[in-house]
């Protein structure tokens, strides 16, 4: 193995700038003649906007402009689009009420943007925003997910019952038959708690219009700048796409929340031409809590049918998913396509049926958050599997062993074909690392000390590497899901790689450089990775769904292959041999079976100084593009085992050991992969133990809108994790990789809640399992 090549634990190229304060995040960029924006936001969850009086505000010092929703609507601007069409069970399309970039006539959640104030300084903008007088007519708010469809009020007139769609997936009749003829049916009612993503860098944007070129530049904290540009130009503002450059510079964490096209940056771009100045806006933390797209928020009943041996014969899942006040960019596909298709889990369950009702409420839009649909699916599957084991009196490991899929490829009853995996191997490795055999003794020892010990499993699967465009299109996607890459070899043999993936913590500048350096046989320091700028990168669909390496990395590998293929032709000419006789290995082109060779850098130089060059047959230069559209999803899978100890007097849960064994396929940089797993686990454990978004049930006020009210996992809330991998290489991409960014967040909540319910002896405890909830469950059992 090359010291800095594929598989090496290389420290990160990007770290020096981050560690020395030289990172450049959106808010760090200040443009000449910079102006600043503040948004007037609705203080009510649901209210008519009767009038807006901005005269006094407009007269305040430094104020450059104030715009309302009516000002924008008057210029013919429509609303933000939803990127995925979901049809109802009867084939009719989902309801897509307009999502104005500034509210017109009605505000639909606390924090809904009502007006924008642009001023010379941020302080002036904020002061004037406070002085804008809005006359609201407060309406009853729809807040509760489970009861939204029965609420008296309607969030949108176009969806009087607040139902966006009711979607079904799978063979309902087969499942009903399995339930009717089962030896036993386990049933569980569970809630997947609503989360607020909380990237530590708040959302930010800085939009500038250039008169001389009649074009725009938008700096924005975003995970997919080309998608942002396409959606904003083509679907909202009507700006020609080639007249807009979107730069997503260093981005301080995304976790899904920076995928979407938001109203704020769209308004900024619109206003930048009218104001004639660059306009910067950076969310303060409360704005982030109020207006970043939230995650999860499902209410589910799941039933599992089993035969006498604990073999699963059918599973039925009925879910209500809250999409919030408006459909955010990918809101519609998260609780459907990214959810129901994963409900087979790692098991041979022959029939699965899922029905999802998506409801509008007077809360912030809900969209993808780390895992996006797959954590919700895993939570359903792994909680009911563990419950089924308890109902059947089976060991939780044993019920999994009896039901694991063992032959591949495997077509599930919910539409996916798993290409490869070894679920037994991950489970057995995790069991060993967790010392499952020693658990009864540890439990007895804890009991002697008056403590409750529990252990829980979660054998998750996810579909990553999003996505085969034709499959996604058939399922309602309104975009392709390929990725693009460009490998630009410079005359000196140094290489700049342009990728449509975007790194906001994942370390692509390192991982992708390792791949390219390995393939080209050159030092990693000779390779630079560029991303996040539509002015530099040819195209891209961005980073989410653990797709960057499997899809973006593959595009780069395809471009490298083209570079090598062309290099062989140049080398053949230089070495006076046939193209087909040239081999490329360790950075050297060689005539097979001889010692005649020419190094990569010489070939690069020849390509740009083509004095001795087959100009009649070959263009000069060494610069190749590739677009890669995957043929299947990738299927990372693994087993997480969590062991907890609970103090029955306080209900406080301590995680004494958390073990994760994951199969991500081949691994490029184990250090980075472990870091991704740790971070995912922290978010999953955060969901299960600490985090929960709470809206007041009557008023729709967000009660968890600061770090004093929303419990973020801190260093002393988390244990050290025991992580390991088992590798089955993905069969359909050249690197054999599957993706690792979301697994931790997907697998861990179920493992933790299975452990807590095991310790307490409860059927269910709602997440987050706060000491109060756990204590109450212990009292109920006593």
């Amino acid at each position: 193995m090359k010291a800095d090549g594929i598989g090496a634990r290389v420290t990160r190229k990007e770290d020096h700038r981050f560690l020395t304060g030289n990172g450049q995040y959106t808010d760090d960029i200040t443009l000449p003649h910079q102006s600043y924006a503040a948004f007037v936001r609705s203080p009510h969850a649901h209210a008519t906007i009767n009038s807006i009086d901005s005269k006094a505000a407009a007269a305040m010092p430094g104020v450059l402009a104030i715009f309302t929703g009516k000002d924008i609507a008057a210029t013919g601007i429509g609303g933000l689009p939803c990127g995925w069409l979901i049809n109802n069970k009867d084939g009719s399309p989902m309801k897509e009420p307009p999502h104005h970039i500034l509210a017109v006539d009605k505000a639909r959640y606390v924090g809904d943007q009502v007006a924008i104030v642009v001023a010379e300084t941020l302080e002036q903008a904020r002061a004037a925003a406070e002085a804008v007088e809005v006359d609201y007519g407060v309406l009853p708010a729809v807040v509760n997910t489970a009861t939204a469809s029965k609420a008296k009020a309607s969030v949108h007139d176009a969806a009087a019952d607040n139902v966006c769609y009711v979607w079904g997936h799978g063979d309902g009749a087969a499942v009903d038959k399995a339930l009717a003829s089962a030896h036993k049916v386990s049933t569980l009612d569970i809630v997947n708690n609503r989360l607020i993503p909380n990237a530590i860098e708040p959302r930010a944007a800085n939009a500038a219009y250039d008169k001389s070129s009649d074009s725009y530049t938008l700096y924005v904290a975003n995970q997919n700048p080309h998608v942002e540009r396409l959606l904003m130009c083509a679907f909202v503002l009507g700006i020609p796409e080639h007249k807009m450059r979107v730069v997503a510079p260093d981005v301080g964490g995304g976790f899904g929340s920076k995928i979407f096209l938001y109203a704020e940056e769209t308004v900024l771009v619109w206003a930048s031409k009218r104001v004639g100045r660059p306009i910067k806006w950076t969310a303060d933390r409360m704005e982030s809590f109020l207006s970043d797209a939230h995650g999860r928020d499902h209410v589910t009943r799941v039933q599992m049918a089993m035969d006498a041996n604990g073999k699963f014969t059918g599973m039925k899942v009925i879910t209500t998913a809250n999409v919030g006040a408006y459909l955010s960019t990918f809101a519609s596909c998260v609780p459907t396509i990214l959810y129901a298709t994963l409900l087979a889990g790692q098991y041979t369950t022959p029939a699965v049926y899922c029905e999802v009702a998506a409801v509008f409420t007077n809360t912030a839009p809900v969209d993808a958050y780390r895992g996006a649909g797959r954590p919700e699916a895993t939570y359903v599957v792994e909680r009911i599997v563990e419950t089924a084991a308890r109902d059947m009196g089976l060991d939780p490991a044993e019920i999994r062993r009896r039901n694991f899929i063992t032959t591949f490829p495997y077509a599930t009853p919910v539409g996916l074909t798993y290409d490869i995996g070894d679920y037994h191997a991950c489970l057995e490795k995790a069991i060993k690392l967790a010392d499952y055999a020693g658990f009864p003794a540890r439990q007895a020892e804890a009991k002697a000390r008056g403590k409750l010990r529990g252990i829980g499993f979660s054998s998750y699967i996810e579909a990553c590497g999003l996505a085969p465009s034709n499959v996604a299109g058939a399922l309602g996607a309104r975009a392709g899901l390929f990725e693009a890459g460009e490998v630009r070899v410079h005359p000196t043999g140094k290489v700049t790689v342009f990728t449509g993936s975007h790194s906001h913590g994942q370390g692509h500048e390192t991982t992708f450089a390792q791949v390219v350096a390995d393939k080209l046989g050159i030092p990693m320091d000779d390779v630079d990775i560029q991303h996040g700028d539509t002015g530099k990168v040819l195209f891209g669909m961005g980073t989410y769904g653990s797709r960057s390496l499997a899809v973006g990395g593959t595009a780069i590998v395809k471009a490298v292959d083209k570079v090598i293929a062309k290099g062989k032709k140049i080398a053949a000419h230089l070495l006076e041999a046939a193209d087909t006789d040239i081999e490329f290995k360790d950075g050297v082109f060689k005539v097979a079976g001889t010692d005649k060779n020419v190094p990569f850098a010489n070939v690069a130089l020849t390509a740009y100084v083509p004095h001795n060059y087959p100009l009649d047959k070959l263009e000069p230069g060494l610069n190749e593009n590739a677009f890669y559209d995957p043929t299947n999803f990738t299927y990372p899978a693994g087993t997480h085992i969590c062991e907890v100890e609970i103090d029955p007097d306080t209900g406080k849960t301590e995680i004494v050991k958390f073990t994760a064994v994951d199969d991500f396929g081949n691994i490029i940089n184990p250090m980075i992969v472990e870091g991704q797993v740790h971070g995912g686990l922290a978010q999953g454990i955060g969901q299960a133990l600490l985090e929960g978004c709470v809206y007041d049930a009557e008023s729709g006020q967000l009660l968890t809108a600061t770090y004093m009210d929303y419990a973020m996992p801190r260093a002393d809330d988390l244990p050290n994790f025991t992580v390991d991998t088992h590798v089955t290489p993905c069969t359909h991409n050249p690197l054999g990789v599957k993706g690792c960014g979301e697994a931790g967040a997907i697998g861990s909540p179920a493992a933790l809640m299975n452990a807590i319910t095991n310790a307490v002896g409860a059927r269910d405890i709602a997440m987050p399992a706060t000491p109060e909830r756990v204590w109450r469950a212990i009292q109920a059992n006593a």
Binding site: D15, G252, E674, P713, F721
Partner: protein
């Protein structure tokens, strides 16, 4: 109302007339254009804005620039040696993958450096407790703890 503030930042004397309401982090970021210090919450809960004021780790969003008048302030930009070599704590964060997106990192490193003076032999548990005022959303903290331990020992 404006006030004149003079302080030493990263060894250099700086002076400016600023609005009395200017926080130290605004002064550092907007007036001095030292953008390595970040704002994550503006309410002293996330720690991204941590700098040293007279050797103490301080959340600079929660202190007025005027309150730091006359003080010696060190920001993340002031840690590395003049020749560009990283401070041992910075080097330890790189070596142990103690950062991902890098946004909380400057504050995290400044808090860790303060710990070096206070508790050079801190255990994992003490490090976790000491970092309670710095939120990281990316790493799950395990590698941060590893890095801080190594940085304390370096």
């Amino acid at each position: 109302m404006t006030v004149n503030v003079t302080m030493k930042v990263n060894g250099k004397s700086v002076t400016a007339d600023v609005a009395a309401s200017t926080t130290l982090v605004e002064f550092i970021r907007e007036h001095l254009r030292l953008t390595g210090t970040h704002v994550g919450c503006n309410t002293a809960q996330c720690g991204a804005c941590t700098v040293h004021v007279n050797g103490r780790a301080v959340k600079s969003c929660n202190m007025l620039a005027a309150q730091a008048a006359g003080a010696e302030v060190t920001t993340i930009e002031g840690l590395a040696a003049a020749n560009g070599d990283m401070h041992p704590m910075q080097a330890a964060f790189k070596e142990h993958h103690g950062l991902q997106c890098g946004f909380c990192t400057p504050g995290m490193v400044m808090s860790a450096c303060e710990l070096k003076g206070k508790m050079p032999n801190a255990t994992d548990e003490q490090i976790r407790e000491a970092l309670d005022g710095n939120i990281c959303r990316c790493t799950g903290y395990q590698n941060i703890v590893k890095a801080v331990k190594a940085g304390l020992a370096a």
